[in-house]
Symmetry: C2
Subunit: 304 residues, 2 copies
Amino acid sequence: MKEFSVTILGSSAALPYKGRNLTSQLVNYSGSLFLIDCGEGTQMQMMKYKVRFMRINHIFISHLHGDHFYGLIGLVSTFHLLGRRDPLHIYGPAMLEEIIRLQLKASFTSLVYSITFHVVKDDAPVQIFEDERIVVTSFPMQHRIPTTGFLFAEKPFPRKINLEATEKYEVPYTFFPELKNGADYCDAEGRIIDNEVLTTDPGKPRSFASCSDTSFFEALPGFIKGCDLMYHEATFMNDMAVVAREKMHSTSADAANVAVLADAGRLLLGHFSARYEHLGLLLEEAQRIFPSTELAEEGKTYTL
Amino acid sequence: MKEFSVTILGSSAALPYKGRNLTSQLVNYSGSLFLIDCGEGTQMQMMKYKVRFMRINHIFISHLHGDHFYGLIGLVSTFHLLGRRDPLHIYGPAMLEEIIRLQLKASFTSLVYSITFHVVKDDAPVQIFEDERIVVTSFPMQHRIPTTGFLFAEKPFPRKINLEATEKYEVPYTFFPELKNGADYCDAEGRIIDNEVLTTDPGKPRSFASCSDTSFFEALPGFIKGCDLMYHEATFMNDMAVVAREKMHSTSADAANVAVLADAGRLLLGHFSARYEHLGLLLEEAQRIFPSTELAEEGKTYTL
């Protein structure tokens, strides 16, 4: 199975807080690195945790609150100073390009690599990236400014050839690609051999959903249905639900309810308010609703 | 004597490097805090070193290379989130205001405090700040983009009254303010008592100069003549003098030569290239020319 993991680089909301940097998550799919959000200090976090960050070719920015993207210009500059050659793709709100380009202009910097900005719509789920193995979909969230979440999903795997069965039924190798795609086999005598006889289940494709920042809303679980791992903001505890609603953030319980409704495998809580020195109570609040909950700990890698 | 000190918050050039954050220095004059430059991560550095950063009312940005100001927008945002009320003054190149305001606009942020941007000219020394006790002057440096240094100078102190002498010559209290300003006293019989008989030397006003980034140029020492403490960039050692010239940076020896020519009290080397893991050789290079040299160490406070 290919590596599919998420490393937490920052889990603090709004303000940096001792031991908790601003929001950023690193997705590793089989050695390809994808960055979700890039709060101030993210490049330092990647140096600290020995991330080979020049391998990041795609950066996804959820929204333009500073705690989610003020570290982007620094990372873009560092790539330049380190002589990056590979093109970089940045996905996010429309104004992001203007902000980055203005700052490059201010320093008279002509980048030694190219950046392509992809504007992410925030009114409906939309596929924004695809390679041979995974698809990234953005989906709307409900926050004070336009915000999206991101779903990283493996493509369905080809079915696995059952060599014993293909030998028995004398299926030629040339037909294997079709078998992998699920086709039945029709032999020389016109007999149909079911695909399920000739192949085995390749396993369920995995998916990771990143949901920050948002208040709870009914459509959200549908966007990330059945994901194996989800990161969800939990800025507050439920005793501050009124404040959470006002600020269009979630409580720990909200996050857990999304996990239940989405039928998620595991929930990672993140984006903690600096008012919480210890996070045990946030964890307990979520675990009462959704037991497979963990805290997003900086520097820790969560494997799907 | 009033406190007058400089705390190093970052001493790395261009890229953050383990244990060395991007450029920032904090000047404390009798409890009033002034920030010089604000590289990415500066607010985290201030939290780490327990700086009461809400007391900073004046921020000086030398130039618009990212390692000197990418942390400013994060600090401006944090002030907002913490409910700052005091006006903030920011001094720097003209485009700085556009960059900060664009990012505030992107997050629909209407600050709860006011910022006044002061455009700093880079073609001649100019006084940019003054209060009852100190004066800040900017002066041009020679770098790839418009850049200025900053000189923080105490105003001349009033002369100290010699109470024994004023009693002897029966100088009335009402004349003390004039004595403090250096006036001679003329008594009832028309005799002139020299000011130096009635007062004592209040000591030399102190000054701190911040010089980053710049290549060596002849006029520089004149701008900071006689400063007690100077921070000067030393991006490279002298064996890389050619690269230093090309990039319009200084070597450790350049910095020391400026200190000699400026007749400075002490020199702090900073803005080190990430190529130098250990800084001992940079220190030695400068000390051979100017013995009163120290390395700018993060979190360390240097008192004038």
